[in-house]
């Protein structure tokens, strides 16, 4: 027979965060006489070491078998109090929290009312706590190894770090070469290093690494499994270069064969990069219409070749236009692309060197030179004679062999017509056009800008909503090579955690099916966002994979025969909470 509940209730002041708006002593007195409650206390900071010790002491001395902490959101400190209980031998799932900060003291100013609400919240959690059941904490074995999707700088760095830690890495690249977009660049900012000298050795290292298997012209076609045990299906297409187009005599590439394989790994690193903004979407800038309006990437190739000839007129005036396709709400790209200010500074300086007689002008809205050495480089570029004028060019028209930039110099406060022989559009970054394919395969959420969404903007910048899947580089948002490498190394380090531990803990508060009641209708399979339930083809009932289940409860509420029960959120527990709240 189940032992009688012996509940301890702990009301936190959270300094003055809660105590200022809630009479915590009164709440503790109220809690002390609730059914099953053995002890109720209030304390300045329950999450502090002495606060936790208080709980542990009560568990041991008063034989508590349930703990209720009324403080902040469980997202904040539930792990803290569960761990504290576990140290005394109490099952961590016998700890429950009442949120009297975010859902009470922070949002109310009426102290009396807030105190009454805090009492109700505590009463409802105490009612649930009496019905809590211990749950078993489980772990699963991890398949050693990682898949890295994308062979640009981010993917290469991440692959090298994971491989150097001693694990097999499968580096999957869609195109026929490694190096990604960086391979199209000439020099880096702000140090003007040669990209070829930077990238070449990096590619060689990853190609030579004994732990790295490289798949070129290969795409991910399916992802099954969960953290520690993923199965990544890839499809490689071999390009037949021999076929000759009869009419044109041109050699063309056709896909002639494809091979599929499945890679079993413990972690996945997504490093799929970005697309370059297509300035055809800003028709007023005349790109594609005037030969002397080019993109910054075209300028990179020109600068690499040291060739600024072949335009309608010899180049005497070069203009750079910033923020093309970035910081533009109308286009749906509200974000700053973070690299254009600095690559424009770099290019404009290189143009000064290549064409010392030419005027070089940069039209900008704001200059963002935020990286290490970046502001200094911007100073240097202006000292070299590059003229910065504030104003965003509104349109470009033709005048003879030149073009005219139509805009306003906002510092002069008047409209200007600016003639130029060459215009460079500083195009920004966009999410890849095929981003939704991978987003669907991996069930990876995206932020409103379309890039993949990190789990927390500050504290978990490389984690995703899917355990075991990590982000590196521009697939998460625009960034320069410096930040990309830093993030790639962070993603590699996070991806190594399950690989090095060898096992991963899995959620215990999962849904379970009572097969006696299950009619096999499959509605749970349809609603589950994680693919956890599946119908057993032989028995015709639903089976839930406890490792995939996140305990969201969608299946339990959907199940028409109430055969699914979400542990830790059972109907009895929820109803007890509701009764306590509405006085049923």
């Amino acid at each position: 027979m189940e032992p009688q509940p012996r509940i301890g209730v702990y009301i936190c002041h959270c300094g003055t965060n809660i105590a200022a708006n809630v009479d915590v002593e009164q709440v503790a007195e109220f809690a002390a006489i609730l059914p099953g409650v053995v002890v109720a206390r209030d304390y300045l900071y329950m999450c502090s070491d002495p606060g936790q010790a208080l709980i542990q002491q009560d568990i041991e001395e008063q034989g508590l078998n349930r703990v209720v902490v009324a403080s902040c959101s469980p997202r904040m400190h539930e792990p803290t109090f569960r761990a504290a209980a576990q140290q005394t031998g109490l099952n961590p799932y016998l700890v429950e929290m009442a949120n009297i900060r975010e859902q009470c003291s922070w949002v109310h100013t009426d102290r009396e009312g807030a105190t009454e609400k805090a009492k109700l919240l505590v009463a409802s959690v105490v009612a649930k706590a009496a019905l809590l059941e211990p749950l078993e904490e489980r772990e699963v074995e991890v398949t050693p190894g990682a898949v890295v999707i994308g062979g640009g700088v981010a993917g290469i760095i991440a692959a090298l770090d994971v491989a150097s830690a001693g694990f097999p890495v499968y580096l999957v690249e869609k195109s026929d070469h490694l190096g990604g977009r960086v391979a199209d660049l000439n020099r880096t900012f702000p140090t003007l290093e040669s990209v070829a000298e930077l990238l070449g050795p990096l590619v060689e290292r990853v190609q030579a690494h004994p732990n790295v298997t490289i798949f070129l012209k290969t795409q991910v076609t399916g992802v099954e499994g969960y953290v520690g045990n993923f199965e990544v299906a890839v499809d490689s297409r071999r390009v037949n270069e021999e076929r000759v187009n009869e009419e044109g005599g041109m050699s063309s590439s056709t896909y002639s064969s494809s091979t599929s394989s499945t890679l079993a790994v413990g972690s996945i690193i997504v490093a799929t990069g970005y697309d370059v903004f297509d300035p055809h979407r800003k028709p007023e800038l005349g790109y594609g219409q005037y030969p002397n309006v080019i993109t910054s990437l075209e300028m990179e190739r020109r600068l690499a070749a040291g060739d600024l000839t072949g335009f309608p007129k010899p180049v005497r005036s070069v203009v750079f236009i910033q923020c093309v396709g970035s910081r533009d709400v109308q286009l749906g790209n509200p974000y700053c692309s973070r690299v254009c200010c600095m690559y424009t500074a770099k290019q404009s300086r290189l143009v000064r060197e290549l064409l010392p007689e030419a005027d070089v002008t940069v039209f900008f809205m704001d200059v963002r030179a935020f990286g290490k050495g970046a502001e200094e480089f911007y100073d240097e570029v202006r000292a070299k004679g590059v003229l910065y004028r504030r104003g965003s060019i509104s349109e470009i028209i033709r005048r003879g062999d030149r073009v005219v930039l139509i805009g306003e110099d906002t510092l002069l406060g008047r409209p200007i017509d600016f003639e130029a022989d060459l215009v460079v559009l500083a195009v920004g970054m966009e999410p890849r056009s095929d981003v939704s394919d991978l987003s669907t395969l991996l069930k990876l959420p995206r932020s409103s800008d379309g890039f993949f969404l990190e789990l927390h903007p500050k504290l978990r910048p490389v984690d995703t909503a899917v355990d075991g899947v990590f982000l590196a580089g521009c697939c998460q948002g625009p960034k320069d090579i410096t930040d990309t490498v830093a993030q790639a190394k962070a993603a590699a380090s996070s991806a190594l955690i399950p690989l090095l531990r060898g096992t991963v803990p899995v959620e215990s508060a999962t849904a379970v099916v009572d097969e006696e009641w299950c009619a096999g209708c499959g509605m749970c399979v349809e609603v589950c966002p994680y693919g956890a339930p599946a119908l057993d083809p032989f028995w015709g009932v639903s089976r839930i994979n406890a490792v995939l289940c996140k305990g969201c409860g969608a299946c339990a509420t959907t199940c028409p025969s109430k055969a699914i029960r979400l542990q830790h959120f059972t109907p009895e527990q929820i109803m007890a909470q509701v009764d306590a709240l509405v006085g049923g």
């Binding site: 007023e284 910081r327 709400v329 109308q330 349109e395 409209p415």
Partner: protein
């Protein structure tokens, strides 16, 4: 009169402005007067109030043509032109407005049109729709929409009253008749659409027009409403809330009629083009360039239908100006400017525009807006280009082509 800026800044969401200058940079009027909408927005953000002295000092607010280039270009979704309209509204309220603007508004209030000509004359354009000499086979009957029709044709003020634009109106109904379209008009019950009224800042009068016109339209029960002018089209489509009625500009409808084969230029064998073109029968052997009206192109992104019609006319060779489509240069006829000269009388954008058209080598500058027709035709004359460039509405070209194939009836004198 002291205007608190904060309320307006909030209401128009001016706080999104980053002062990048794309609006003033793209503003065609800013290049000829002191109008600077970026600076005006900045005033709204940093000055607590604007007094009577401010308004008196900023008469250039009446220079804006409401072409909405600023709205189209703003990267932060601020609507700079809306501020001008709002500030004009303040001036209208205090009664400090140019005399000619006042007269136009009064005309709309009294007679339902900005010229102030009598309401009873609104259907006079139909005289001569079947030709002065009565020849031709298909008699065109312009029926009252109130009798019931599929398409309600909203004629508009200039197309109803202005003798030059009436030519276009008659050409349009002849094309409708040739296509067998079931259409009707509101006759003398039709009133001004209010598009320019709103842009001149007279919100109260505009709302009255929306209510009265909306009621009339719904009463007819037509599923489609077609306009001559892109200005009427714009306000019906975007500001009237005519749920259940599809609003079209005539270029959309005519392009559709051509595409569906209802309006055919069944070409007889073409003789070689006569010198000067157009005179030899068969096709309209002309080199034509097309000027995108702001209210059709920039503001409603209708770029392809007018071109589709021109391309369908046998013999027409369409050439593009450098500034076409999104970069079309405003003719300065919108936003009330048909009734107010603005602060710079010497330079006109229309002058610049007709030179751009002439540079293409085109003999005909085709338009799809009554205001563009009037402003550009005037500019061609003033600039002495009338020996090489003729301004025609697209419908006049259609009419010419239909007549040549015996389907329509060329009865109006095509100028030039």
């Amino acid at each position: 009169m002291a205007l608190k800026t904060e309320r307006i800044a909030e209401q128009l969401e001016l706080f999104g402005c980053i002062q990048c200058g794309k609006c003033t940079g793209g503003c065609p009027v800013a290049r000829k007067t002191v109008l600077n909408i970026r600076s005006m927005i900045y005033h709204m953000l940093v000055e607590p109030e604007l007094d009577a002295v401010f308004f008196k000092a900023h008469q250039e607010l009446w220079d804006c043509t409401c072409c909405f280039t600023c709205v189209e270009r703003c990267p932060k979704d601020v609507r700079p032109a809306d501020l001008i309209i709002e500030l004009r509204g303040q001036m209208v309220e205090s009664g400090r407005i140019p005399e000619t603007i006042g007269a136009a508004l009064m005309g709309v209030f009294r007679q339902g049109n900005p010229t102030g000509i009598a309401r009873e004359d609104r259907a006079a354009w139909t005289n001569g729709v079947n030709g002065v000499n009565g020849c031709g086979r298909a008699k065109v009957k312009v029926k009252a929409a109130q009798e019931g029709c599929e398409v309600l044709y909203f004629v508009g003020c200039s197309p109803a009253y202005d003798p030059r634009v009436q030519v276009v109106t008659r050409a349009l109904v002849r094309a409708f008749a040739a296509a067998g379209l079931d259409f009707g008009t509101l006759g003398t019950e039709e009133s001004c659409c209010g598009n320019e009224v709103r842009r001149m800042g007279e919100v109260g009068l505009f709302e009255m027009l929306v209510e009265e016109n909306g009621e009339l339209f719904r009463g007819v029960g037509a599923s489609r409403l077609v306009t001559t002018s892109p200005h009427c089209f714009n306000t019906f489509k975007n500001e009237y809330g005519l749920d259940g009625i599809e609003v079209l500009h005539y270029t959309q409808l005519v392009a559709e009629l051509i595409e569906q084969g209802q309006l055919e230029f069944s070409a007889p064998p073409l003789p070689p083009p006569a010198a000067g073109g157009g005179g030899g029968g068969g096709g309209v052997e002309k080199m034509v360039t097309y000027h995108d009206p702001c209210f059709l192109g920039k503001q409603n992104h209708i770029f392809d239908e007018p071109r589709a019609i021109l391309k369908a006319i046998p013999g027409v060779k369409l050439v593009e100006m450098d500034r076409s489509r999104e970069r079309s240069l405003c003719c300065e006829g919108g936003g009330g400017r048909m009734w107010a000269e603005g602060t710079n009388l010497e330079e006109r954008l229309a002058f610049q525009r007709v030179h751009e058209a002439a540079e293409t080598g085109a003999e005909i500058l085709a338009v799809a807006c009554p205001f563009c027709l009037l402003t550009l035709e005037d500019a061609v004359k003033v600039q002495g280009l009338d020996d090489r460039l003729q301004v025609m509405d697209i419908m006049e070209l259609v009419d010419l082509a239909l007549t040549k194939h015996g389907l329509g009836e060329l009865t109006d004198q095509i100028p030039g």
